[in-house]
């Protein structure tokens, strides 16, 4: 789960980039294959020195294979979720886009253990209580949403996603951050699970953090003129942007 969290954190920004969808279908397969092989080499080295398991590993090649394999599956699932590949996509094109997305996801997977400090970040004591959790969630959501909101991708994706895909995106925006924050075995996980109070149970906190990510996404889209009224199209855009924003919110909460 730590590797998946790292992969999602590094992979989602590239997933929301039109050029990835385009180049994944237009670059020669042999060039993409060379990129994947080179990335595998980098993953072996990263697995040896960092890795997604706690402590260094005796099996860096095996860990790199697992990292690449799970990253391929994860990338394909996210691309299907965002309707970038589907039953009508030529297999060659689907492989190209999936392989291109796999590269950053697998790097994130390989450095998963290093993405959050083992004892929480410096000054993390200052973020105690539910207000601190939501504040840092808003900060993380803002960083991710601000990177994507000015681009055309949320509008393009939202226009092409139907109700089923949007609903699945909401589910993914809740489940992935929940698993990242409470199951990924990053530092401070035990304290996060043990937090008490009406708003600090894992499920409640996840729902509240999604609410924060949703609000931040709506504000960012409004700021860049992508949303000016609340209708179905605007809602779809906010839901689309709230997915990476919720990943950012989860990353923020993992750091404290």
């Amino acid at each position: 789960m730590r590797g998946v969290a790292g992969g999602v954190i590094l992979g989602v920004p590239l997933l929301y980039t039109q050029e990835t969808w385009l180049h994944g279908r237009s670059i020669a397969p042999v060039v993409i294959l060379a990129g994947v092989i080179a990335t595998f080499g980098v993953n072996v080295a990263l697995s040896y020195f960092v890795g997604f398991r706690p402590g260094r590993t005796h099996r860096p090649v095996e860990d790199a294979v697992v990292g690449m394999g799970i990253s391929i599956v994860l990338s394909a699932m996210l691309l299907i979720l965002l309707h970038r590949i589907g039953s009508g996509t030529l297999p060659e094109n689907a492989l190209g886009v999936t392989a291109l997305t796999t590269i950053p996801v697998s790097i994130g997977f390989a450095v998963g253990a290093a993405l959050a400090p083992s004892q929480g970040g410096e000054a993390s004591e200052g973020f105690e209580g539910w207000r601190g959790d939501l504040l840092i969630a808003a900060g993380g959501a803002l960083v991710f949403a601000l990177n994507i909101a000015p681009t055309a991708e949320p509008v393009v994706l939202a226009a092409e996603l139907d109700g089923v895909h949007l609903s699945l995106l909401v589910v993914a925006s809740l489940v992935l951050p929940y698993l990242m924050v409470f199951y990924a075995e990053f530092g401070g996980r035990d304290q996060r699970i043990a937090s008490d109070g009406a708003t600090q149970g894992p499920i409640t906190e996840t729902l509240l953090a999604y609410g924060v990510a949703f609000a931040v996404s709506a504000a960012m889209l409004a700021m860049f003129g992508r949303v000016d009224t609340m209708n179905q199209a605007a809602l779809a855009r906010v839901v689309t942007l709230a997915f990476p924003a919720s990943i950012g919110a989860a990353l923020g909460r993992m750091l404290i």
């Binding site: 042999v30 994947v36 394999g69």
Partner: protein, 129 residues
């Protein structure tokens, strides 16, 4: 002299780890072999673009919507595909960012309601990626 970093314990794999390894190997091999097959046996040659034109199903304001579908049956993707649609004296241009090989892309153009002649579409230009 600094002490070496502690290394992970060597231990037997659990059934879950075996399953994860097998699934990962299958996924990695599928991707690598699939890309290799595409590289060495896929279609080759330049882009070959076919254009179809039809009345768009979605209503549009300000005129008659026509849907253009460009299919690439060639061996190379085509970028910046410029398609010209003519209906009698009326001409419209639409640009598609990319039509990947083996794929199709659609766009809609609006012509005046008074343009009732048979619509015609052709690719004016495209560039190689």
């Amino acid at each position: 002299m600094t002490a070496a970093k502690p290394r992970g314990m060597r231990r037997e794999r659990t059934p879950f780890e075996w399953a994860l390894l097998l699934v990962s190997l299958a996924a990695a091999l599928t991707l690598a072999v699939g890309l290799a097959i595409s590289a060495f046996t896929g279609a080759s040659g330049p882009a070959d673009l076919e254009v179809d034109i039809a009345m768009a199903e979605a209503p549009a304001s300000g005129g008659r919507p026509l849907e253009i579908t460009v299919t690439n049956i060639g061996g190379t993707s085509a970028e910046n595909v410029v398609v010209e649609v003519t209906v009698g004296d009326v001409a419209r241009e639409v640009t598609l960012a990319l039509v990947a090989k083996g794929d199709e892309e659609s766009a809609t153009v609006i012509v005046p309601t008074s343009a009732t002649a048979t619509p015609h579409a052709e690719v004016l230009s495209y560039s190689d990626p």
